[in-house]
Subunit: 150 residues, 2 copies
DNA sequence: TGTAAGTATATTGTGCACAACTGAATTAAC
DNA sequence: GTTAATTCAGTTGTGCACAATATACTTACA
């Protein structure tokens, strides 16, 4: 038997995007108490992840990796600079580009951050295999929505 | 062979949550051009979906359905009221609760909204079966992260 | 060489998302 | 029945996310 609720395309229960949106919000909420100990927000944490792996990159390159633009990143990076975790230099070759560096304080924060993935993993009982599948599906959807822009 | 990149827990490529976060952002971005025609944002659209299905509910009930709190909803609802799509009355039984109603303008917007799910579906080439799976995994993760609060 | 096109970052303004808090109204305890 | 605890909505302040725009710098090319 098919009820109206099942077939109504405007029913919230049938909206895949709402599930995605709610799960992402819940995920950021779940990170918050862990990241508070590092005095970082989730986007700031992501930024530090990239900078720990790629020293001296530009705002543009960072934005490409995080899928965020300068309107979001510039104030975020200023806040990280204000906390003394990064420095925002200028490229000598090209005066337009900012070159982002980790400070010693930023580098030392890396150790505390090491335990975050494991702590976060404990909050979700979902089997690893399902999470890998979730990641794969999210990446797939992202690329189909992002490529379409061209 | 296992490279450092594969095993580093702080590598962005290994972060399931980053994929979830990026996919959700991309999804909201993809809705934007469609919703601009209705002069709605994505959270406003979600709110209208709920109110089209459940006339006369409270801010609390709406928040429970959308997983959002009054700090987010109060200004959003004022904007919807400002556009003439809803009215924000008071319950007669309990003076604390706001009772949300759809106006005729809000009701007429429903027809234009009917085509949104189909248009959105066209933007994603992912097979329906995969999307159903994605929804199921997102719901699972949401509940595990949300229940844990108690 | 001058100028046009393109690129990198920054600014402004809007709208969430949420924590922390306030105040008013309701309910429960005594 | 008054006090205490709870509940609902709203306010304030911070930090994204993004569109639109501005500005400075670089490159191409006429």
């Amino acid at each position: 038997m098919t009820t109206e609720k099942d077939s109504n395309p405007l029913s919230l229960d049938n909206q895949i995007c709402f599930s995605l949106y709610s799960a992402a919000n819940a995920m950021v909420r779940a990170y918050r108490p862990l990241l508070n100990k590092l005095d970082l927000t989730y986007p700031q944490y992501l930024t530090m992840l990239v900078l720990w792996e790629h020293e001296g990159i530009s705002v543009k390159t960072l934005g490409d990796k995080l899928h965020l633009d300068s309107g979001t990143l510039t104030p975020l990076l200023k806040r990280l600079e204000g906390k003394g975790l990064i420095s925002r230099g200028r490229s000598e070759k090209d005066e337009r580009v900012r070159v982002l560096h980790i400070t010693p304080e930023g580098e030392s924060l890396r150790e505390s951050a090491m335990e975050i993935p494991e702590l976060m993993r404990c909050k979700v009982g979902t089997p690893t295999q399902s999470l890998v599948q979730l990641k794969s599906l999210c990446d797939q959807v992202y690329h189909e929505l992002a490529v379409e822009k061209s």
